[in-house]
Symmetry: D2
Subunit: 179 residues, 4 copies
């Protein structure tokens, strides 16, 4: 961010600058929980990514990513859904821009219960119905479809770090799901 000469890529941020920005500014994120719905709209399955973190531990996580400069939230959602679920997932983007919750991740413990070592992130979290075939790309090892009961099980909750297990609970509650 120390370039003052005309910049050919004004929205571009070097890795170093992004590292610094993450220590000074909240980052805007989107998070998506892909779901399979039955014809009446009841949730039948929740999609979680199975991945390895920096230390080689296996972790479950959400479709998630940064909103870029000049990118709309909807465009960011589509981009990250396609990145993580492949081009044939056929997601149904929501008609309303209102998320089911706003997840605030902090680099140290806070009242929100959500943590992210790297940054302060404000994530708009959406439930996204998908109708097509999902093929995880990039660094995700697998996309697993879980029943709501499985998603709330102690085992799966234990695989979700940074407080994300609670977000699954919030998403299912938002959908009116009953144990």
């Amino acid at each position: 961010m120390n370039v003052r000469t005309p910049d050919p890529n004004p929205g571009w941020l070097s890795n170093e600058d992004l590292y610094e920005a993450r220590r000074r500014l909240p980052m805007v994120y989107v998070e998506a929980i892909p779901v399979r719905l039955d014809p009446l709209g009841y949730v039948s399955e929740v999609g979680l990514l199975y991945t390895a973190d920096e230390t080689g531990n296996f972790r479950r996580t959400f479709v998630s990513g940064r909103v870029m400069y000049r990118e709309t939230i909807r465009a960011a959602l589509v981009r990250h859904m396609e990145k993580d679920l492949g081009p044939f997932a056929m997601p149904q983007l929501p008609a309303s821009p209102v998320p089911f919750t706003v997840a605030e991740y902090f680099p140290s413990p806070s009242e929100t219960g959500l943590t992210d070592d790297r940054q302060h992130a404000v994530a708009l979290a959406y439930v996204i119905p998908v109708r097509g075939e999902c093929s995880p790309r990039q660094d995700a090892l697998e996309l697993t479809w879980l029943t709501p009961q499985e998603a709330l099980s102690a085992e799966v909750q234990g695989d979700l770090s940074g407080g994300r297990g609670n977000l699954i609970k919030q998403a299912l509650a938002h959908m009116g799901w009953c144990e």
Copy 2:
């Protein structure tokens, strides 16, 4: 409703009893505003029914109807969508049971601004994306797809009675639509 002998159709209500109930109890309704969304989820069109009222005047109205005894809201939505849009509309029922608004119709003017001569109705109103082909059935003459601008025009607003024009505004606001 004065039958005390075993009743072969316990959820059934004669026309006369329904007429009476409508003067004594609020009725539960669902209302659906079918929409066409672009791939990013932005609303491109709103579907309104074009029909004739009891006095022969042409009116625009919503997909709307009563929730029956022992029927879920979701089942009522599917039933009324199919009744009014035909079997190939491919509606995407919402993942969440929370309506975008609760519309309270009263037989005389009230603070809600919504009126219905026949009854006091509490209508749960949903925006329902549809992907398929719609063919109005029953008493509807036509299903018209309007752009948001057209739906907000004075002409169309004037064709919506009982305060329903305001519900269109609320639905578009809920979708974040900007003039």
Copy 3:
């Protein structure tokens, strides 16, 4: 509902007629979960009524009641809050009419997981912050303020019948509460 002569109380329903209507029509209900919020809006306590059911068993329950003919949802909420919490509770009615969930109670088990022996009830459920003093009236023995942790404990969940324990979870999820 068998009166056809002009009726001095057109919105009035005899106990017998109400009994019959409850077997033929869904009833409109409101449910309120009173909460204490800290200055930032985080929930600190949830109010539950402690009462005895018909069989003399102690039960926890919500502020809840029927919406009368020609009564607005807001008026019903105020009436039932005052009936159950007394006149000095100082409830903050919500600016928006949208409930945090719609609870569908059926006389027999269904996909909603909520049951009510007496009727099919469609309940609009709201979280209502209260600032004043609460004194339970009528048939409630006690109003208990519980922390979110206590409200989610197995013991309290076991005292909530008809699936209402799940509604507490949904209310806390709606408020973004984290375990």
Copy 4:
């Protein structure tokens, strides 16, 4: 953001760095529309700030401001409410973190219809009931309380720049307000 030596104010951003960041990253904002509610929760008045922009033109605007590094959304809302309405406004922060809409401001025209010359801002917009006395501070000349009708008038809408007039419409629609 070019400091690599240990930093005494790790969340602090110089004006120059903030200027640069605003050209590279979306900024997280909160926006609040203070409202007066009647005892039933119906909106009676909407509060708008009357201020002068850089060019000396009078403008109406919202309570609005940046979310700082490591600051929660709720803390940012309280801080900006107090900054703009004074310490005695007695705002009722919402029980739920879900905004009524997410407003995306871009430095050039986009599908969101909202613009901000300085930056790409993602603003979480809340309706905040206030019960106390409001005294605008800082650079605001005045806080005006308007009826919903006045807030929707062509004159007031014309005083709201960057597409903010539409946000008032969305806020009133969210509250179920009827013309």
